[in-house]
Amino acid sequence: MSDALLSAHNLSVRFGGVLAVNNVSFDVQRGEVFTLIGPNGAGKTTVFNLISGIYTPTAGHITYNGQHMANVPPHAVAGLGIARTFQNIELFEHATVLQNLLIGRHTHRQTGLWQEMFFTPQTRAAEIAAREKVEHVIDFLDLQHHRDSMVAGLPYGVRKVVEMARALCTEPQLLLLDEPSSGLNVEETDDMAFWIADIKNVLGITVLMVEHDMSLVSKVSDRVLAMSQGEVLAMGTPAEVQSHPGVIEAYLGTIDDVSSLRRDSTKEQRP
């Protein structure tokens, strides 16, 4: 059994009176695409924020590569090899796409302050090396004609791709994608599916994603975790989870709720 890259053990976080995440445990195996699904407010993005170090768990812990993530500050998470995208795009609006992607290379920086101030040949070489890596990602995601555009002026679909590109530029081992297909049309979602598959197969990056689009989930995921109201409902392959009665209930309601929508057969029929 291959070792887990990331595991959450009995993870819980409480905000005031609200238990946003309650006793959630799961493993993400190396090289797989693991999806979190669940209705809105289930706590999926909160789990991401816990992994990124933005929130601290009130109970339980997360291990990454065997190492406890308890005292890792948010800015050190990228250095460990975890990159993420945000649900509501958090790009650097007043910079170009290229600059956004170059910022993604920050953890691989080799030059110090004084070298940069004098722009030594080493700095120049480092800049060119960073640019080469960024160009690989641009080619991978077809962002060539957006290189020098200001992010603020880009359409939503392109921004989502730039967000993912920026995360890829950090050369992560684990990529956290928060609703990668939200706001995208059918073609863009198809592209996204291919890219996620490529990220897994070509780049060898483990993907943990939150998603609502079930077709994308079925196409791309190896395993799925369904959450509702902060708790784990079911975990398994996409087919298993989608047929799990608890999951169906969380999304569609129980048989009693549905039956009230049926027309009452004893009522008068139209002539």
Binding site: T45, I54, F86, Q87, E90
Partner: protein, 291 residues
Amino acid sequence: MQELQVIFSGVAQGCIYGLIALGFVLIYKATETVSFAQGELMMLGAFCGLGAMQWLGWPYWLAVPSALLAMGLVGWLTERVAIRPILGQPAFSVVMLTFGIVYVARGLVTMIPNVGTETHAFPAPYKDVSFDMGGVVIGATQLVVVAATAGLCLLLYFTFRYSRVGIAMQASSQNQLAAYYMGIPVKRLNGLVWALAAMVATVAGLLLAPITFVHANMGFIGLKAFPAAVVGGFSSLPGAIVGGLIIGVVEAMAGFWLPEGFKDIAAYIVVLLMLVLKPNGLFGENLRKKV
């Protein structure tokens, strides 16, 4: 005994700071913009009152409400002409605009021949009255400051808590776009808030004028009101008053007990301590962006 007197004058001064801070916080709560112009509005309000009494010859009880009305109008106009067009710009731009207003207000007042550059005594009817309370001499000017501040606060509290306008203001401060969709006339409300803030500043000016006289540099006192707002928590109305009182008392005590020069910077040391210990102020909210 002298300590009590010092403390009381600190309380009175603190009320002034609190009133100006109240103006900032009103504007901040409603529009999440910071206005550095409150001090100047206070100065203009004092000049208005002075002008009504000295050059129009009106009695005090007429000059005060007319100054309030006039400054309310000025506040509303400022919002309409200068602030509304820049809705949607980053917060820093708005702050710089209020600095521009500071420059213009000071400049205009100093340009008025003979009046602007001099210091004038303010003929308030209670100016020379004082009470001797068991050895502690308290001027009526200070008592009126404290009483008026308390009254004004109660009035504002009830307005915000129970009136539709108050609730609408809170709504538009949290999410302008949603407030628009809900049918709240956001722009009109903003004008109202600025008018209100200007009137509060005018009250402060009219209360302060008998104590410090009326002159063009009165607005600098407004700078000390910022520490008051921060200490109280920038989005809390009662916090503004409490912050002002704290600053006023600390300042008065620093002037009395500490060596020369500490009085001027006491307010700033307090605010730095507060930012280190409790960045959101005493009553402030937790600022964190939800991603």
